[in-house]
């Protein structure tokens, strides 16, 4: 079976490809370029196309599939009416699938399930990364705020930190938010 993964994010495409590589009898093609997309799909002649919902080329590809029906290779969005939930899960994960006419749902489902799992795994990876980045940025701003308090009020580092913490507790805010306010105020007052 020939599977095309259409995704403008090369890293996500790689994660999905890796997941599908464990399937037997499947050849996997990755298309990340928008230009010449239709021609590339034509060359690959896939049995299944997996495409992320955020891809701006979905309408272009659907049009191509609709027209290719005339050419005798019908391909349509995979909608398994016997299992609405599975399709809803794939939309939730952000993946759409197009399948050549005549392919049995039982052959498609394992591939789709795997793709959904990989899409979800990628989304988790990204949110973990975003969280890690956010934490790093927070630590930087807290360090900056501490230095400002140490310079302007002669605090030691532990004193500066405890001042930030106390203010945060009093105002029901997070330390990073108070630190942010200190840094902003300092900049407004002409500090660096």
């Amino acid at each position: 079976m020939r599977i095309a993964i259409v995704d403008e994010s090369a890293s996500r495409a790689a994660v999905i490809r890796e997941g599908l590589a464990m399937l037997e009898d499947c050849e996997i093609f990755v298309v990340t370029e928008r230009r010449g997309l239709v021609a590339q799909i034509g060359q690959i002649a896939p049995d299944i196309v997996l495409m992320d919902l955020g891809n701006p080329s979905r309408d272009v590809l659907e049009e191509y599939f609709a027209v290719s029906r005339v050419l005798g290779r019908p391909i349509a969005m995979f909608v398994d009416e016997s299992d609405e939930e599975a399709i809803a899960a794939s939309v939730d994960a952000g993946v759409s699938s197009y399948v050549v006419d005549g392919l049995a749902p039982r052959r498609i489902r394992p591939i789709l399930d795997l793709a959904v799992r990989r899409f979800n795994a990628f989304a988790r990876l990204q949110s973990d990364l975003a969280e890690a980045k956010g934490k790093l940025a927070e630590r930087e701003v807290v360090d900056k705020a501490k230095r400002i308090l140490m310079d302007s009020r002669g605090f030691t580092e532990p004193q500066a930190y405890s001042e930030l913490r106390k203010t945060a507790m009093n105002q029901g805010k997070r330390i990073a938010e108070i630190a942010e306010a200190v840094v902003t105020a300092h900049q407004l007052m002409g500090g660096k």
Partner: protein, 406 residues
């Protein structure tokens, strides 16, 4: 998300186009809030995804190209799911932009061309060069596609034979012109202006010249969702009417352009957006900005009223270009997608004008005409098709047959 939301919370899907303005402004100016609604707007990059989110409950309602709502109801391209349209988000607002050399060849005088003359010149050009041209539209089931085809066929240029019509995503229209993937595009704003600013294209026609009052985007919901959440849908209709009133007031242009330009909405140039929403167009690089008063039509003349006859015209074009036969049951389903009854019950007792009829002969008015009203007063103005042929929904089947012969 979606249908699991608490009462008063509605999620609306949209594409970054200027005619997504009414839901955006209903939220931003508090018209939705005043009706007890809280709107969440979800931006996507393709109509396919806007539709998927609607069908699988990620959104409750969507900004949608009108023919797609009918195609979905009739099961074109995927299993049928009935959609309902209680409100038309606007009329027209699209343009035909051509590669500069093609624009000059078939419209040598410059400016907005006369549709019949430009069409005749295009036909002559095709005969002379012997090379078919490729036009891009934003979706197979879009008013852009149907208006463009109506114009071409009416000028003796055969779509799919003399001119290939292909789908190009709006954000890539300027690119597609620049790299020669297409010779012309029919797209909404700000994408024509982006192509013009880059020197990739020149605007030759606006779709309002092809059909002066052509239905464009609609507010679409799954029929069962509309029935279940009827009170909220009616509140949304009222909020959108208020947003329209604000949108067409010239005093609010700067404000509204700035809101629409924001990163979470159109993420584009406020200058280009302001130009489009004030019905102004720069036709060619280095030229003057032209004011074409009915370029976009979001409010006057009860523009948001979902005339059943508009849905039927779209069905007539779907039959024409999808090569399907007329089917009385399909025609009835298509007509039922537009729901003037919901629009009426939402606005009954407010100051909003409500037409007395739910259907009209489209394209029959050459000048200002008073129409009979259930409530309020409106004067409908010129609503003609460029070839002067009216569409009488009572003669739907005959209209479809006459187009087949043409």
């Amino acid at each position: 998300m979606g249908s699991d939301a608490s009462p008063g919370e509605l999620t609306i899907g949209f594409l970054p186009l200027v005619d997504a303005c009414l839901p955006i402004l209903a939220r931003e100016h508090g018209f939705a809030e005043a009706e007890g609604l809280s709107l969440r707007l979800v931006r996507d990059m393709s109509w396919a995804t806007v539709l998927d989110r609607l069908l699988y409950g990620h959104s409750d309602a969507a900004h949608m190209v009108a023919p797609l709502a009918i195609a979905t109801t009739l099961g074109r391209g995927r299993p049928a799911q009935p959609l309902s349209v209680p409100f038309v988000l606007g009329l027209n607002g699209n343009a035909v932009t051509m590669r500069p050399d093609l624009a000059r060849a078939i419209n040598p005088a410059g400016g907005l061309g006369d549709p019949a003359q430009v069409g005749a010149a295009l036909k002559a050009h095709l005969a002379q060069t012997g090379k078919p041209l490729r036009f891009g539209v934003v979706h197979r089931y879009s008013s852009h596609n149907y208006m463009l085809r109506y114009w071409l066929a009416g000028c003796g240029v055969r779509p799919d034979v003399d001119v290939e019509i292909t789908t190009v995503a709006p954000p890539f229209c300027a690119d597609a012109l620049e790299f020669g993937e297409v010779d012309a595009i029919c797209v909404g704003e700000p994408w024509n202006s982006v192509a013009v600013e880059r020197g990739a294209g020149e605007i030759v026609l606006v779709t309002a010249q092809i059909w002066r009052r052509g239905v464009e985007k609609v507010l679409a919901l799954r029929e069962p969702v509309m029935e279940e959440r009827r009170a909220e849908v009616e509140a949304l209709v009222r909020a959108l009417r208020k947003a329209g009133e604000h949108f067409v007031d010239p005093a609010n242009l700067d404000d509204n352009a700035a809101i629409l330009a924001r990163a979470e909405y159109l993420d584009g140039s406020a200058t280009l957006i302001r130009r489009a929403i004030s019905d102004r167009l720069l036709l060619a690089q280095g030229g003057e900005v032209l004011h074409y008063p009915d370029f976009m039509f979001q409010h006057r003349e009860a523009a948001n009223f979902p005339w059943v006859s508009q849905a039927e015209w779209l069905y007539s074009q779907m039959v024409r270009w999808d090569g399907m036969g007329f089917d009385a049951s399909d025609a009835r389903k298509a007509a039922r997608v537009f729901r003037p009854d919901v629009y009426r019950s939402a606005l009954l007792g407010t100051g909003e004008p409500l037409p007395g009829a739910s259907s009209k002969v489209e394209g029959s008015l050459g000048g200002p005409t008073s129409v009979s009203m259930q409530q309020g007063v409106i004067t409908l103005e010129n609503n003609r098709f460029f070839d002067g042929r009216p569409f009488d929904p009572a003669l739907l089947q005959r209209y479809i047959e006459s187009q087949r012969l043409a």
